[in-house]
């Protein structure tokens, strides 16, 4: 069995799965249960100044469901901890004492003045936590008060706060980034420039779940009014993966450890994040949807995968896929693939035909010699992968390379590119 022991900024944990700073890590009771279930670490729910904030008592969560009520996307308007700071600190100290082999990280959100950081950071560090995570991501409520995403959206603020924290702390500092920016690299670079040891991402994405079809108000509301929340869960994973990969492959930020967050539900999601450059992962929504027991699949699924790949540790997987990520302009335009439909697997639903016919390149038949039959018309197929994407049968349609004699060539040299490089 592959060794799942993880080391992130020198912090050891029995596996690379930490619970993200969120309701599941609100207090000792939950974190105890999580560690009993086997979670490798926990980032405590974000601490703030006393007196604590107050949460709404109306709905804090809402979801996008599949027809069988599987939660695909999740929205929340919960704020940081609403408990007194001392209560949290006492419980964190106790948890770290009871679970010395697990990672325990303090998430903090403080006002943008150095005094606050100088006052609280040593107090929190004294609990024995392994690291700080600076919450510059929370997109609702706290951002209206100049914290959370309001900091994360301004690289200069990120750098400033990271510097204040580093000055007051002797343990590692992770900066948690908001995805509510147009380019994730400058905030990551600001964290690095501020002396942060690592970044974690993504926090939640600004979102409104839907409207209430009866009242035609947004849904959900508190006494008739609602506010945008933060979107998370399976639906956000591709957005998170892109941002993780952008940081991992950038020359300025690529050397910074990344803690990957965003829709991790099963072990394959963890493989995605690790291979695209994260050194460990954090989970919240999946635990909030299914409970802590999902750690079983996350750990033994990942372990079996590493075994199958002949890898002995998680670190061997980290960043494996990063070299395969590039800019569009560098893709080989002379490489040709076409779809091939396995007629033995085809169930003749015709979906490939109709989507190609209606929305793409008219490259799949519906009839051959008077019989219902779906075949690729090679001359028309551009290799777009739409048919593969919509086919309900796994592996029925595959993309196959059509070899040619052309040397690799990309957009940077293409004659149609007015900005092409001349050799």
């Amino acid at each position: 069995m592959a060794d799942l022991t993880s080391e992130f900024l020198g912090i050891r944990s029995p596996n690379p799965f930490w619970l993200a700073s969120a309701p599941p890590t609100d207090k000792a009771y939950n974190v105890n249960r999580a560690f009993e279930a086997g979670w490798g670490g926990a980032v405590w729910k974000t601490l703030g100044e006393d007196p604590p904030i107050v949460n709404v008592s109306g709905p804090r969560y809402s979801a996008i469901h599949s027809n069988d009520r599987r939660v695909i996307g999740f929205n929340n308007i919960e704020l940081i901890t609403d408990r007194p700071l001392q209560t949290n600190l006492d419980e964190m100290r106790q948890i770290k004492r009871d679970w010395p082999d697990r990672a325990l990280v303090a998430s903090v959100m403080l006002p943008m003045n150095e005094e606050a950081w100088a006052k609280y950071v040593p107090m929190i560090e004294d609990t024995g936590v392994d690291a700080f995570e600076l919450n510059f991501g929370c997109p609702h409520g706290m951002s209206e008060r100049g914290m959370g995403a309001a900091v994360g959206q301004v690289p200069e603020y990120i750098q400033m706060a990271a510097e204040w924290c580093k000055k007051a702390a002797s343990i590692p500092v992770i900066v948690k980034l908001t995805p509510n920016v147009t380019n994730i690299v400058p905030p990551a670079k600001a964290a690095k420039d501020g002396g942060a040891d690592a970044v974690s991402l993504i926090n939640t994405i600004n979102s409104i779940t839907r409207v209430n079809y009866d009242t035609l108000t947004m849904y959900p509301t508190t006494n008739g009014m609602g506010t945008h929340g933060g979107y998370c869960g399976e639906a956000v994973k591709p957005i998170a993966l892109n941002m993780v990969a952008e940081i991992a492959r950038n020359a300025d930020t690529g050397d910074m450890p990344i803690s990957g967050i965003g829709g991790i539900t099963d072990w394959r999601d963890a493989v995605d994040f690790l291979a695209l450059g994260a050194s460990n992962v954090q989970v919240c929504t999946a635990a909030m949807v299914y409970g802590f027991k999902i750690i079983d699949d996350l750990t033994d699924g990942l372990s079996a995968f590493l075994d199958d790949k002949g890898m002995t540790s998680v670190s061997e997987l980290v960043g494996k896929a990063v070299p395969s990520v590039t800019d569009w302009q560098y893709l080989n335009l002379n490489y040709v693939e076409k779809a091939v439909i396995d007629q033995d697997l085809c169930i003749e639903c015709g979906r490939c035909h109709i989507v190609c016919e209606d929305t793409s390149h008219q490259a799949i038949t519906n009839t051959v010699n008077g019989e219902r039959r779906f075949e690729v018309i090679d001359e028309e197929c551009v290799g777009c992968n739409l048919c593969v994407s919509v086919c309900p049968v796994d592996s029925c349609i595959t993309m196959t390379q059509v070899p040619n004699d052309l040397a690799p060539g990309n957009w940077t040299e293409h004659p149609n590119n007015p900005m092409r490089k001349t050799k």
């Binding site: 027809n67 069988d68 169930i347 519906n366 049968v393």
Partner: protein, 438 residues
């Protein structure tokens, strides 16, 4: 010679109620959404092609997925006005569900019948009107028969703006939907609720308990109306043509089924201890299963050929077997025994004689037009094998007269086919009358 053991109250009312409860209980919303999700929304869907009325099945299922049940019901009912009854009685396993591509994928089709019921039930519960009548054409059409074919034709003609008069033979409307279908397939008086909803479009007048050949003639209708549609069903039960066929206790399955459907309290129906059913179609299965569920101790269903030759679907045959009916194949009826009541029936199996004791023998070997009786009234309409010959538009050999349902030749005796006949005929009649909708 022991007296025949035929009596009511073989089972108490509670047990009978249980036996005659909905054969396929309706889907809950949760079940329907999950089942609807299984539909692949096929292109040129095989299920639609297999549906005699051509319902756009992927579309109505798509609308279930989005809780657009009124739209879903409209998609169904605009092709098949009896989509409610058909969702209960269609042999979907040999129609839409047989060709579902899920069969290829996982050997389990989408439950199209149950989804169709889920989509249409609210319409009949609330009486929601989904269709509007076109501007009045001033044309009048006579429809003979208040069954699925006649009512389907009537509804479509009313939609197209024509005035319709339906001549209905029975006290209640709906034809075999009301008198013929097994009780556990259409519970809660659904047949009447459906008829009431169909008629609620307006423009359809119904006269009950009037019979062609007795109370009016075809020639009178042809004189008084612009077109005539015959949906008269089949009334004469085929004979076994063996000795002692007129013995008491030898009964027509269709008559007993009608009696059963009309009974307020099914425990009051007389039921034989030993029941033998002759036939291999839906009627045979229905009478056999219902006899068993009324408390008959032993029910034998006897068919002269093999299981694959039976017109009852595999599901129906399975239903008979799991209901406790013994199904026999390759037995030819030879003679009925008894003096003043049937006591047994003798069969031939490859030269060997087999005798089954019987308090009641039900004949369910098909029906035909009451030919002699109707000969004069049909006015030279071409008939073949006791059924009316029609063309692709359901037109008979007589100009201005269309026909559909069980009374026409070449059909499959299904409700859904009768509905299609009525619809096709209505569109043809509209065209004949100069309508723009043909």
């Amino acid at each position: 010679m022991p007296a025949p053991d035929i009596r009511p109250n073989r089972l108490d009312k509670a047990e009978i109620d249980k036996n005659f409860a909905d054969l396929h209980p309706p889907l809950s919303r949760g079940e329907a959404l999950i089942e609807a999700d299984r539909c692949y929304f096929c292109y040129d869907a095989p299920c639609t092609t297999a549906c005699p009325t051509g319902i756009d099945i992927p579309s109505f299922i798509q609308k279930i997925r989005s809780d657009n049940l009124r739209g879903s019901a409209h998609t169904i009912l605009s092709e098949n006005i009896m989509g409610g009854m058909c969702s209960r009685v269609c042999p979907t396993e040999v129609l839409c569900e047989e060709v579902c591509v899920r069969n290829t994928h996982e050997d389990k089709p989408v439950e199209i019948g149950l989804l169709q019921r889920y989509a249409t039930d609210p319409i009949f519960k609330d009486g929601t009107q989904l269709f509007e009548r076109a501007e009045a054409s001033g044309r009048r059409v006579a429809i003979v028969g208040g069954g699925p074919a006649g009512l389907s034709c009537a509804h479509r003609l009313a939609m197209l703006g024509h005035e319709v008069k339906v001549f209905n033979r029975d006290p209640r409307r709906g034809g075999l939907n009301e008198y013929g279908i097994a009780a556990y397939k259409t519970v809660d008086n659904f047949a009447q609720r459906e008829v009431d909803w169909i008629l609620s479009i307006g423009g359809i007048e119904v006269e009950d308990e009037v019979e062609l050949g007795k109370d009016f003639s075809l020639s009178a209708l042809r004189d008084a109306y612009d077109a005539v549609f015959l949906g008269i069903g089949l009334t004469l039960v085929n004979d076994l043509n063996i000795d002692n066929e007129d013995l008491p206790g030898v009964e027509n399955a269709t008559e007993y089924i009608a009696e059963l459907r009309q009974a307020e309290d099914k425990s009051t129906l007389p039921v034989g201890r030993n029941v033998v059913v002759i036939g291999g179609g839906m009627t045979a299965i229905d009478i056999a299963v219902q006899s068993k569920r009324l408390g008959a101790e032993k029910v034998d269903l006897v068919y002269r050929r093999g299981p694959e030759d039976m017109s009852a679907s595999e599901f129906e045959q399975h239903l008979a077997q799991t209901s406790g009916v013994t199904v026999h194949h390759w037995l030819h009826p030879k003679a009925l025994h008894g003096i003043d009541h049937v006591t047994a029936i003798e069969f031939d199996k490859n030269g060997q004689s087999i005798v089954l004791e019987a308090d009641v023998v039900f004949k369910a070997i098909g029906q035909k037009l009451a030919g002699e009786q109707l000969a004069d009234d049909l006015q030279g309409i071409d008939v073949d094998g006791g059924k009316i010959i029609v063309d692709g538009d359901q037109a008979t050999s007589v100009v201005g007269v269309w026909a559909g349902g069980d009374c026409v030749a070449g059909g499959d005796d299904l409700t859904v086919s009768a509905v299609q006949h009525g619809k096709v005929a209505a569109i043809a009649i509209d065209s004949y009358l100069g309508g723009e909708h043909g």
